[in-house]
Symmetry: C2
Subunit: 440 residues, 2 copies
């Protein structure tokens, strides 16, 4: 797509075009420096490199084309958004910009300094009008998973329509019942936006599409992390692929992820690894990592470590469960199955949330990982407090763990790198010691 | 009560007696310095001074006497606790220690640094075993009003039993329905603790007792703030009286507050004011002020200002509504009325929360106040984010407003005093200018 077309399109959706162009250029430069410079990348990453180059160009044109056809366009910051319903209505569901420090100063004119950077960044993008996705959304999907978001919606709603879904914080029967009602209400809201009833078949089709997408991502996760002998793709590339799953058209995306997986499968067979033998294999636990927040992955993988999994909303938590559609006879069945699937999400907003700990321990064992980094965005109370219980369980299991709390400022990148290096060194030392021990 | 009796009792409930004694002495010294030194205090404050001297002595003995009789003893940090039910069962419902910086370092061994000081302080009191109230509680009442508390219960529960009530964050019909179920569940939990069914008459009696208490506090609020000519009690004393309402036996307390009000009524008649004419009259909005956190009141009232109201959970939000028991025929009616009353609480945990803004504007007008201080505890996301909408409304109404975010450390006391002084000066200047204007 030509730059001129972009400018016209972006103006139409009220983007601050000049400021946006400047930010996009910086983002692309950063991408080139951090991603394109990696050695031995899979061929299939070319598609994702192209997608990055058109991230707020052709994809935005596609979304706005759907809007012209009265298909819904919904932006979200949370994996509780029932995207099956939006896609079923032929629309687009996407993650909104919220991973950049460039919009935070603007956000702080309306929001406190000491809340999560993702919320501030996202709010700032709206105030600046520099996110073409935000500008392309019929409404922003809000939820009550965390209080900083919950209260920010009230302010954001002054600038852009927000629809809030009340996520209960417990998972007893009565909470789940209410949750199902919320999903039904969401569906009705989509019908209001499009002015059209949604059929069961349409919603089932949307569910099938999203099920396939999650399956492809689970396949990528296995290829990437389940074989300690061969790591056919860097953690950074795999993270980027996952991040793009929140923006791209789901059908095309699924196909491209599967093409990548085909290539990775071949690499595993041929024992082509992008990391040297004995590279410490780390899992990342915690809060979502929105692009262009690649700080942690860059720190680890430029320090001699490999990231084999993200147990986060942009990661395993997003794609680990699917909707069972085998026995659905009517809409009520579908709503029940959707609710069931979403209630498996082990967001730290829930109390208690012990299944998350069990899952982490299992993931660690399955992947034969060497350590974990518990990463939280600053001021994310839920994940931050839950880290005590998680690290307690990790410690009990003898699993090395580093806890990092960070925001989007580049200032702590050096400090993080130093801590990561020390952590990797201690893991390598432990690995060597264990080897010696097993030999003797 | 003799010190020796205290030591025996405190040991029995597993208080760290020596550490506790040290803290209590410091608290009493601080109380003497900040309260007893005030001039022209009402005679009836003597009771509250006595209560302070026995705050973790005789009152603790009373509570533990009830426990011996299998009456429930419940500690809480939130005004959503249905105390009517606990008092109906003949038990004691009280606020737990959570306003001191002395326990925070201990809490930070399990909790993040950057969460609300009240939560950390309370958690630290349990770890240290230096709060006789915490030690006296059959269980701690937890709720889901804020995520830092919600997640901390999971950790606190390892040290002391916690019963969590799921407070919905919206007030639609379905949320209220669930809330009512939560109150019923709470009642059942109390029955479990006591091993006895609660009768409707018992619960009605509990409700009557708490209604009377709230009425007395509302009376104090009116006497203190609704007459701009006479301010018969300092804000600090009135705050302390309110704070003790969360600890004292409700019947005795109600009587003592009413005795104080009788005296204040007389003072108003006789035009006996504890503040000079034209002292700027401030309202405090925001988060609860747990004893011994008297920092803000001391800063204001030692700088030439008067505090006439706290729109906080320790304040107006607690006592503004009563339970309507005139038409109750059965238990279900009572539960509905309790839910109705509690759903009027305009905690910032709710979205949207516009009734709070309307209430604040009305309070300001009714009291003919001269300005407000929006006070939040550090890292309290809900009240902190809501401050934007509140201050926006205050600004539109031309109301002077100062926003202060603080924790329990003494370090910012000087800075707060400087800001308060400047704020009071600007208010006095405005008042004088207005007077001149109205004369010319």
């Amino acid at each position: 797509m030509s730059v001129e077309e972009h400018r016209k399109l972006l103006s139409e959706i009220n983007v601050d075009v000049d400021r946006h162009a400047k930010m996009m250029n910086m983002g692309l430069e950063s991408y080139k420096a951090q991603f394109m410079s990696q050695k031995n990348r899979p061929e299939a990453m070319k598609y994702f490199d192209w997608f990055m180059s058109e991230i707020q160009g052709q994809r935005i044109a596609e979304i706005n084309e759907l809007r012209k056809q009265k298909k819904p366009s919904v932006g979200a910051f949370c994996i509780f958004v029932p995207e099956e319903i939006i896609v079923g209505a032929g629309g687009a569901c996407f993650g909104l910009c919220g991973g950049s420090p460039a919009t935070i100063a603007d956000a702080e004119t309306e929001l406190p300094r000491n809340i999560c950077p993702l919320i501030k960044s996202a709010h700032g993008f709206k105030l600046q009008r520099t996110c073409a996705y935000t500008q392309s959304s019929d409404f922003i999907y809000g939820e009550t998973t965390c209080e900083a978001k919950k209260k920010t919606w009230e302010i954001l709603n002054k600038h852009h329509p927000v629809h809030v879904m009340n996520i209960p914080h417990m998972k007893r029967d009565k909470d789940l019942k209410m949750w199902k009602e919320e999903i039904i209400e969401f569906k009705e809201h989509i019908e209001e936006v499009t002015g059209k009833k949604l059929s069961l078949e349409e919603m089932l089709e949307g569910t099938r599409i999203i099920n396939e997408k999650r399956k492809a991502l689970l396949r990528l996760d296995s290829l990437r992390g389940l074989n300690p002998e061969v790591m056919p793709i860097t953690g950074k590339d795999a993270l980027f692929v996952t991040q793009m799953g929140f923006l791209d058209d789901p059908k095309r995306y699924t196909q491209k992820v599967n093409e990548l997986c085909d290539e990775l499968e071949k690499r595993v067979e041929d024992k082509i690894s992008v990391f040297e033998k004995d590279t410490p294999r780390l899992m990342i636990l915690g809060t979502p990592i929105a692009p262009p927040n690649w700080k942690l992955h860059t720190a680890v993988e430029s320090s001699g470590g490999a990231i084999i999994n993200e147990e986060s909303c942009i990661g395993h938590r997003y794609y680990k469960d699917n909707v069972d559609i085998d026995n659905i006879k009517n809409e009520d069945d579908l709503m029940s199955e959707l609710m069931k699937r979403y209630s498996e999400v082990d967001c730290a907003c829930f109390t208690p949330n012990t299944p998350r700990i069990d899952k982490i321990l299992k993931m660690y064992k399955d992947r034969q990982a060497d350590g974990v980094i518990y990463y939280t965005l600053s001021f994310c109370h839920t994940y931050n407090i839950e880290s005590f219980l998680v690290t307690e369980a990790l410690e009990a299991a003898g699993i090395p763990c580093l806890v990092i709390e960070s925001d989007y400022s580049p200032e702590d990148a050096g400090q993080i790198k130093t801590r990561v290096e020390a952590f990797l060194e201690s893991i390598s030392f432990k690995k060597k010691a264990n080897k010696l021990k097993s030999k003797s």
